[in-house]
Each structure stands twice: as structure tokens, then as C-alpha cells.
Amino acid sequence: MAFRARTVSIAVVLVALAAVPPVAAALGQPFYLDLFRRIMIFAIAALSLNLILGYGGLISFGHAAYLGVGAYAVGILAHHGIHNGFLQFALAIGASAAVALVIGAVSIRTSGVYFIMITLAFTQMLYYLGISVEEYGGDDGMRLAARTQFGPLLDLASPTPFYYFVLAILAGFVYLVHRLVNSRFGMVVRAAKSNDARTRAIGFSPYPYRLAAFVIAGAMCGVAGALLVNQTAYLTPEFMNWTRSGEIMFMVILGGIATLIGPVLGAAALLLLEDFLAAWTQHWQIILGPILVLVVLFARRGLAGLLPGGGRDE
């Protein structure tokens, strides 16, 4: 029964998201389209992090790196006059996967506190690399030369088709994660999180599975990055700032770790909260900070735990 209720919850959320463009148009508020598209893009990033963090127990504080890699892949190609979406997204995915493979190969050999700090350090490394490469804007970043085009099919410069493109990717990734975490592969990753010693004792070496999960999550986040740069039409190393990693992590926790709908709810909650607070005062972070601390201390199950059929059972 919980399974059914969970599917319905997810469907409701996706349908609600699909309804945003017509509603926004009817209200004459194109801003909402923009806002919810941004929420969905971050939901994709949070979804990818949830795979390794929520289900896998890998506290990666460097996930924003892949937003950056994906964004720069698109931005750099666009800078050189290549606006073909197939090529751009292929590079975004490939580059993110490659970077994740290298970083993961080194980091996953460690655990606990070391792992957190190493993933953080590697992200900063990429951030500094981004800053020091003057040709692509360096510190200041650069504008996206032109939005991505998928041939005659789709031009991301049109707001509404872009919106549904993101929604389709989000829905697709939700389903992908669902299949992954219930597959043999996913079971090993989850088992390794639940009890590492036991997992080794029955005959699994967690390392290759964790690494594979890390690479998949990186690639997914790279897609989010490619979408993000189209959203903002601007490219900056700030995409890779570790505070961004922290934000994404918060979305995962806020929404509920190891749930499918959690990342979406978490992204929505955090971004809406930020927007709301920012309208109130330019010093909104001083309110957000303590709120986050309180959430961590008192609201561990996250928002997904509030929905019918929500919670961790998968």
C-alpha cells in the first residue's frame, strides 16, 4: 500500500509541475515559470546527490563540481560557436562522468571525515581552476553565447519548451533512480551504507559499486549543470563553490534522504524559502543559517516523511 501511495505522491508532484506554465501564463506571471524551472534543475542536482548520499551514505561535499563541469562543457562549446544540444549534452555527461571517475577513484578509498574533506578539497580545486582560466571568463565568468539548440526540435531559448524539457529530464531521472536503487547494483550500494562490515563478510567489495554510483551521480549532475547554464544564460566558477554543494546537500536532507520525491520537495522548499527571505531582507542568510541548524537537529525525516506513503521504505 505504501508503494502505491508513494507512486501517487510522485505523480501528483509531477503533474503539478506540468501545470505551472499554463497557470503562470493565465496569471500573467512568467516569473513563476522561471522560478519553477530553476527549482526543477536543482531538484535534478539534488536527486543525483541523493543517490550517493541518501542511498549510498557517501557524504560528498563536492557535488557542485559537476554542476560546474556540465555548465562549462556547454559554455565552452557555445563560446566556440557550437550550439548543438546533442554535442553539448554529450560532452557535459562525458566530462562529468570522467571527472567523477577520477575524484571518486581517489576519494572512495577513504571514509568518514577524510572522505568529506577530500571531496570538498577537490571541488575547490576545480573552482580555482575555473577562476584561473582567463579565456573563459576567469573570476567573473562569462555570458552564454547562445542557448542550446537540439536541431529543429527544440531551442532552449523558448521558455516554455525549455521548461517541459527540464520536466521530462526530471521525471526520467526520478524513474532511473527508482530502477537503480532497486536493482542488484542499488541493493549492494544500500547494503554497504547500512552495514559495511556485513557487506564485506558476505562477499562484496563495496569500492567498485560505490565508484560506479559516484560516476552515475556525477553524470546526472552534469546534466543539471548543462541545464543550469541555459537557465541563467551566464557561466561562472561560483557554480562550483562549496557553499553550493552545501545548499544541494540541504535540499536532500530537507526533502528526506533515500526517498524519490524528497529531492524535489527539498529543492522547492529551500529555493522558495531563500526567495521569500531575500524579499524580506538582504541579510536573509542570517535567518537561513539557524533555520538549517534547527532542521538538522529536529527534522531528520524531511518533508517526504510528511507525505502519505513517504519515508524511506523503497
Binding site: R179, F185, S194, R198, R200, I202, G203
Partner: protein, 249 residues
Amino acid sequence: MSDALLEVRGLAKSFGALRATDNVDLDVREGETHAIIGPNGAGKTTLIGQLAGNLRPDAGRIRFAGDDITALAAPARSRKGLARSFQITSIYREFSALDNVALAVQAHAGHSFRFWKAARAEPELREPARAILEEVGLGPRADVLAANLAHGEQRQLEIAMALATRPRLMLLDEPVAGMGIEESQRMIRFLAGLKGTRTMILVEHDMDAVFTLADRISVLVYGRIIASGAPEAIRANPEVRNAYLGEEA
């Protein structure tokens, strides 16, 4: 004794100045149930850790079925046919009993780089898991969350997971630890039923279990094996009585 399934020679492990394992030799024959007993602090846990692959010895060799496994880590030893149950229950608390055992089956059922099909829908994983749960007496509890099982049931689950990996040798670390009298009896009867079909190394405090199940006993005191042989010989051994059994045994 080259027909020994497990052959340990000169095993040693120190923690600083403490010699937890002090030049241990051990032979376990195929099909036998070999108990390792000794007072607290004798180094039993350290010894099991080295046999299972969790601790690297400072010196010595371990041969299993003729192969030198000293340098192998735990997962590799499991794949070779060495299973272990933990003294402090170590199961997957968030998964059901059936999921727990199915994972153990999965570890020895081909590779797990399958990304799409639901593992819970695979009969080649679920059927053997169910069968093993029936065997240990947890059949009706298959769908209960492991965290919600009674302590004794969780110990049974430990054994089930070890069995599910189809081992040649089982390392059982205090299988009846923390169990009530009835449950212990049941477990001992169950293990007695396994005798002969699998080789078992049993670390135990419970003398009832030891003398019922063991074909041979080795006594570990301060990291050294002070005696090794048939139960009656051990019972009668004066050194052993002094060091461990006292006069009541």
C-alpha cells in the same frame, strides 16, 4: 596434516606491547566442528578477525583448501567459501529478513553490476533465501524488518546469512550469545544438524554448546593455544582446568 581444510601456522598479532595472538598453530579438518574456547581477553576475537580477513596478522600463514589466503581481504575469503557470523549481531537493520538473506545469496550469484531489473523480483535470489530462512526456523518472519526481530531471531538471521553464501567453512563467533535457554537449545540443535555437512569453527563460552557440538577443541589463553584435542582430553587436561574450566567442568 595436509588434509586440513584450514591450516594456520605461526599466526601472531600485537597491539603495542600486548600480544593478542602469540604464535598460533591450528588445523581444522574438513567436516569437523572445531571449538575455540578460552577466558575473556584470551584473544578469541582477534583470532577470528584474522581468520575472517578483517585484521592483518603481523606474522604467520593461513591456508584454506590448500591456497594461501593470508593476504586476502574479507570479501575475497567469502568468495572462496569462508563464511562468518558476528558475535555482536551485524545485520541489515533497515531491510527485511528475506532481503538480508537474499543479499547474501546475491553476493555469490554472479555479478551485481545489473542496473535495471529489481533484485527483489529475481527468483534465483528470493527462492534460496526463503529456503534458508525456513531451514533456520525464520520462515514465517521473512518479511519482518530485521530491526524488529527479537534478539534470538536476529542471531538466527546471522546464521542464515552465513549459510546463504554456501560456505565450505563457517566461522561462528558466539552464535548463542545473549540467547535464553530455550533459544540456545534450539540453535545448538540446529547447528548439530549442520555437523558434517559443513566445517565449522565455533568460538563459544557456553560449555553446553561446546561439548555437544565439538569434535575437537582448542583452548586459547593469553593469545596462545595451550591445548588442542578431543573434548574428553581437554576436559581432563590439568592446565586447561587451571586456566579456564575450573573444577566444575
